[in-house]
Amino acid sequence: MENMIQSDVSKQTLSVRSSLKSAIVRRLFISLVFLFLFCFLVVPLISIFFEALRQGAGVYFSSFADPNTLSSIRLTLIVTLAVVPINTVFGILIAWTVTKYAFKGKNMLVTLVDLPFSVSPVIGGLIFVLLFGEHSELGRWLIAHNINIVFNVPGIVIATLFVTFPFVARELISLMNHQGTALEEASLVLGAGAWQTFFRVTLPNIKWGLLYGIILCNARAIGEFGAVSVVSGHISGMTNTMPLQIENLYNEYQLDPAFALASIMSLFAIITMILKMILEKNVQKAANGRP
């Protein structure tokens, strides 16, 4: 009986394989995938640059003369510079704690790291408005002491921190889990301290994964819209980041500057993707490098 079932299954897989092998089906699938990617990813991307440059280079560059647009670029840079280092340090800290120590509640911590991915960014933003705004004791106390977090740069930084937190931590947790703790143990037995072990042994082994996480975190920090939109208050020239400024310009029917700004963000996205491609290979190597 078992043999019959097995031979049935193997016949089935055989027929699936042979139909997969047929050249027509293969070509059909590949062309479908390419067509889909072209229509939904490449065409929109090209059209952004096309729209941005349609009125010529003069109009394109004059878009950046607008002080509100310039201030949005500056604000995005400030937020990114604040967020990425913080999330890098905490990402390493969490990954180290979770992978090198055994303790109760570890699995819950790993699940919590993913929380920002499973919660809508709008809700993420709303949490901080409620927490630091006029609606809470803490918020009223802060405002009374002249510390304005909501509708201000600190609020935008905190919201972006929340949304981009998982990138470095997740990347490192999976890599460090794979690598195990034997090398760190070897280093400790040889008399090295914790810092020496981290900088001489751990960091060189995770550097590519770390860089990969930083790049993803960076891209998201620049592009985050939902959470930032809720906490920012949309004050032009004050609390508008690049994505918010694009929406602003678009709502005011200023399409050319909107597309010009969008082209810069898209360019950055393309650079991110290229870096990601290069890094992915090295991360693979690092993960497999240990005997």
Binding site: E185, A186, V189, L190, G191, A192, V201, G289, P291
Partner: protein
């Protein structure tokens, strides 16, 4: 440096991996911790190194209690099963690591470090390989680098966790001889963990056999081999034929198999008998009354000896017998032949039921 392991116990959750382990290792001894996987031998080694903490008990080095000492204060050399070499460093820098991480006032000069590493490279016979990376070495070479790295800090104690477990048979044998030789020339107190009884018996001064988190027997290889303390050890340390039967009136009986058991006079209990493969005498004609009829099923010459598989005529259990080539050809034995077996030596254990 002597090591005292005093009443050490350790649990992982509800599972107790070590149960009141208690023994002493003399200065300069080479000890093998031998046992099947899950017997707790690696956990014990890691507790001695400080990589893990015991729940109860003490670790004492030369009269000094180091149970709660930090890893780096114990000055032990540790060799990991899978080498744990630093992939991002050359062989040279791997070996120099323990010296380079010393605080500046204790750290030797660059020149001294270089001399020391070169000396160690020649000790492990890898002089030309200093500039290579671990990924460019074979398994045996990596393990020797790991040993040199451990020795570079001049540890008082060397701990090895299944050091040759991941290597093929020939390299294992070479490294085993080399380790024995190294131990004799350096004279450092060493403990190594293994599940391979041949390795343990060949290399160690004394063997500690562990099972289920407890010590079953401690002794020199000869002593343990000749006088296994219980049935588990008899089974574990070498292929032995096992007979299950009854002890009564100073005799052990299992089917047609009967032998004297003078150490159990008068008692009537269940018992186990063990006979090593080379403690049989094969006869074509029955002689005396303590012989067992069996049929030769399979003949397999291996180097200078011949292994025979025989089937007992009474219980149809298989027996393993070994003899040298000369004896085999003198007896002129063939497969499917009926013969009579006598035992030269048997060990009887009462299982007390």
């Amino acid at each position: 440096m002597s090591i005292e392991i005093n009443h050490v116990s350790k649990s992982y959750g509800s599972f107790q991996i070590l149960k009141n382990i208690n023994f002493t290792i003399q200065t300069g001894e080479l000890i093998a911790l031998l046992g099947p996987s899950g017997s707790g031998k690696t956990s014990l080694l890691r507790i001695v190194a400080g990589l893990e903490q015991a729940d109860e008990g003490q670790i004492v080095f030369n009269g000094q209690d180091l149970t709660n000492a930090r890893i780096k204060d114990r000055k032990v050399g540790f060799v990991f099963q899978h080498y744990a070499l630093f992939q991002n460093m050359t062989v040279f820098h791997n070996i120099a690591y323990g010296l380079n991480v010393l605080p500046r006032k204790y750290r030797p000069s660059k020149k001294e470090i270089k001399e020391k590493v070169e000396k160690l490279l020649s000790l492990i016979r890898l002089e030309p390989y200093g500039k290579r990376y671990p990924s460019q070495l074979s398994g045996g070479q990596r393990q020797r680098v790991a040993l040199a790295r451990a020795l570079a800090i001049e540890p008082k104690i060397l701990l090895l966790d299944e050091p040759f477990g991941a290597l093929d048979a020939k390299v294992r044998k070479e490294l085993r001889d080399w380790l024995r030789h190294l131990h004799e020339s350096v004279g450092i107190t060493s403990i190594f963990v293994t599940h391979d009884q041949e390795e343990a018996f060949e290399v160690a001064d004394r063997v500690v056999i562990m099972h289920d988190g407890k010590i079953e027997q401690i002794g020199t290889p000869e002593h343990v081999y000749d006088h296994p303390a219980n049935p588990f050890i008899y089974d574990f340390i070498g292929s032995a034929n096992r007979f299950e039967g009854k002890i009564a009136g100073g005799k052990f009986v299992d089917g047609d198999f009967e032998t004297d058991a003078p150490e159990y006079p008068g008692e009537v209990t269940q018992g186990l008998g063990f006979v090593r493969p080379y403690h049989f005498i094969i006869e074509k004609q029955k002689s005396g009354n303590q012989s067992l009829k069996a049929k030769i099923k399979h003949v397999q010459p291996v180097g200078p000896i011949v292994r025979l598989n025989l089937e007992r005529s009474d219980t149809h259990d298989l027996l393993h017998v070994e003899m040298n080539r000369e004896e085999f050809s003198r007896l002129d034995l063939h497969a499917d032949e009926l013969v009579h077996l006598k035992v030269k030596k048997v060990q009887i254990f009462s299982t007390g039921q």
